[in-house]
């Protein structure tokens, strides 16, 4: 039993990992064919993974409503809007528009989802301003450098800034293209080494947290 529960998953990871790492070096059509099929499989499995996420959400809010916890009314709103969207969506065959005409599903998308999501992120505009006001203080040399770079890029990215200080456009270009790029590159290299190390450890079974907890 332990073998089935513990060794077999590790074996599956080892084999699939090695096979798909090796696939990269094999240009033969057979290997490409294998890659195609398996990525298609991943697409399908990805659909099932969504069921996992959704059902946990379902469960949490169902509990809230059943126990009549404070704020359960909001959970009810969530439930109704979710089920309503699903019903309307299936009725519209999952299409927002058919030959250019908006369906009911498209209406929900355009007049509810788009403004809601957009506004959620737009709130950040205000927060970023107050963050800048509160924390952009030249407390140390590092903080001063950060502050100056931010101000230059802010100037250089808008027409008014370039109009007031013509140099700011080129300067921000240089900061992004040279200074910023070099740092990002170093981070990229570091992170990539980490990714490769982690992948190797996963394939050889030294890292198993993805199997969900350490205990049986």
């Amino acid at each position: 039993m332990i073998f089935l529960r513990r060794q077999v998953p590790l074996l599956i990871t080892l084999i699939t990992g090695l096979v798909f790492a090796a696939q990269y070096y094999v240009p033969h059509p057979a290997s490409e064919q294998m890659l195609t099929s398996v990525t298609k499989w991943l697409q399908i499995i990805g659909g099932f993974a969504l069921v996992l996420g959704v059902s946990s959400l379902f469960h949490v809010h169902a509990m809230k409503i059943r126990r009549k916890e404070a704020g359960w009314g909001y959970s009810f709103v969530l439930y109704v809007s979710m089920l309503g969207t699903i019903a309307v969506g299936l009725w519209s065959n999952g299409k927002e528009a058919i030959d250019g005409t908006m369906t009911a599903f498209g209406w929900i998308y355009n007049f509810m989802m788009v403004p809601l999501q957009g506004t959620m992120f737009a709130i950040l505009a205000f927060f970023i301003a107050s963050a800048a006001y509160r924390s952009f203080r030249a407390r140390s040399r590092e903080a001063a450098v950060l502050l100056i770079a931010a101000v230059i890029v802010m100037m250089g990215r808008v027409p008014l800034g370039e109009y007031l200080i013509p140099l700011s456009g080129d300067l921000s270009q240089w900061i992004l293209n040279v200074l910023n790029a070099s740092v990002r590159r170093a981070i990229l290299i570091g992170v990539s080494l980490g990714t490769v190390a982690l992948s190797i450890k996963i394939i050889f079974g030294m890292e198993r947290s993805y199997l969900g907890g350490g205990k049986e």
Binding site: L57, Y79, L116, G118, L179
Partner: protein, 251 residues
């Protein structure tokens, strides 16, 4: 103008304003809009996944083209759902083992190629350039990212930041100076990113406000103005009723 567009404009305006009311403080209008948002977006994803995965990737290929091999991923996907059956939950490990295995395998050579070799290739450049007619030159043009001066700056930046992230070496002596240079480079990059992000977030706000301005048009019945008044009124009334301004809410 079609009726559904006018109703849509009212709904969109109302929801936008409800969420913006969070800037004043957390309030029931915001919570309503927020839960609506979660519900609608989850519902949307479910419909889309059903339509694409079940209908177009599973049902049609199997029934219409007889691609029975697709039952394998369906089986793997089903294994994932055994998580909900405590006794068979271990079966879901097979599915995760497969996904993680394929993902790790795919990642290794591709990451090395795109993020290590390609980045090394572009950093390693000659410090002098052969200019026809002038011979060997050290180009100083800051605006040309490929100039010799910039090549040196990039080399210093990449090396010092890489060194900063050394953990098995103490940052002392000359190492300290290098690490400090690394930090300065990091801070410049963070500053630049902050500045750029300001632009991104402001764009979102501009986008929302453009819509709100559009909806002040009489052809929609001026929903922006009416609903703005209504939202403010609601906030004031609710503020009166609960002077503490903090609605009780458990975690």
């Amino acid at each position: 103008m079609p009726v559904e567009t006018i109703i849509g404009a009212w709904v969109a305006t109302g929801l936008t304003l409800f969420i913006f009311s969070f800037l004043y403080k957390d309030n029931p209008l915001f919570k309503l809009a927020e839960n609506l948002y979660v519900g609608v977006s989850v519902g949307y994803t479910i419909v889309k996944t059903y339509d694409t995965v079940i209908v177009h990737l599973i049902w049609k290929p199997i029934v219409e083209n007889g691609e029975w091999a697709l039952l394998i991923p369906v089986a793997i996907g089903t294994l994932m759902l055994t998580r909900y059956v405590p006794k068979a939950a271990w079966l879901s490990r097979y599915a995760f083992a497969f996904i993680v295995g394929v993902g790790s395998g795919l990642a290794i050579p591709r990451v090395i190629s795109s993020y290590i070799l390609k980045q090394i290739e572009d950093t390693v450049r000659p410090l002098m350039v052969m200019v026809p007619g002038e011979g060997l030159t050290f180009t100083m043009n800051l605006l040309n990212p490929a100039s010799s001066l910039n090549t040196i700056i990039i080399l210093i930046g990449v090396s010092s930041v890489l060194f900063y992230f050394f953990f098995s070496v103490e940052h002392t002596g000359p190492g300290k100076a290098v690490a400090r240079t690394g930090i300065l480079f990091l801070m410049i990059a963070f500053g630049a990113a902050f500045g750029y992000t300001v632009m991104a977030r402001m764009s979102l706000l501009i986008g929302r406000l453009t819509d709100l301005i559009e909806f002040t048009d009489p052809s929609y019945g001026r929903p922006s103005l009416w609903l703005l008044g209504l939202t403010i009124l609601t906030l004031v009334v609710m503020g009166r009723r609960r002077p503490q301004g903090e609605p009780p809410e458990p975690h």
